[in-house]
Amino acid sequence: MAWSASAIFREFVANCMYQSAGTSFTGLDSDTVNVSLHNNSITPDKDAAVGSTGFNTGVWTTTNEVTDATNWVSGGRALASKTFTTPSSGVVMFDAADLAGGGTVTLAAFYGCLVYDNTISGGTVAKQGTSFHYFGGAQQVTAGTVTIVWHANGLQRITV
């Protein structure tokens, strides 16, 4: 098994969206939200137990993380210019500015990313994942720049 799709974690909805006691979660707007890159040795699961959805837990361990020594280090990079909008009837959208590395990087093959709340330090799991995004194949950079261009419909889109 390996990557096959993108998804919002069930436990993010069950926990952070509905309850935040003891987690230090204050909202994705005010918390620091990071993006880490991962290889194809993992099988992401949107239904994973909450304890397995955090950065460096479950399949998201640093063993399977792809990093650059200087400009995309372990833990990934923080999103900027986060927005939360209701663009049409029944739709909620979480978007952010496209995310670039800090400069020139060399990255081995990565297949997707984990978007996680880097502020969450309590509760069952720290750095709880909110969603993961499958890039559809191997992505590789050699002595160049990397930018994640988010979809026009945002990072996350919920239809109610």
Binding site: T104, T145, R157
Partner: protein
Amino acid sequence: VTIPLLNPEQRWECPNCPQTHVTNDARPHTPFHDCRGLKGLTAPFVTAGRKVKVEALEREDYVGSEMVQTDGDGRPVMSVQTTHDDGTDLAVLAPCATLDATAHQ
């Protein structure tokens, strides 16, 4: 002694369409544009005068129910790769993670 902070002018172009761009930012950055040559994809500019190849890489896996990014022909594209003399740059076109709470089960 007063030391002026200079913001050098940087000229950009695209090898796939006529668009050009100018920035004045000393920090590392890469401006993007909607490229007609790549059928409307969001693609990076490259430093003017630099010989590079900028190409769209088609998604290698099933789309399924994924909300992926597509070009003007509806072809699913996973990234735009820039190949230069000493390496590669990459703009990854990430899919949107969706949750549909309206489906009845």
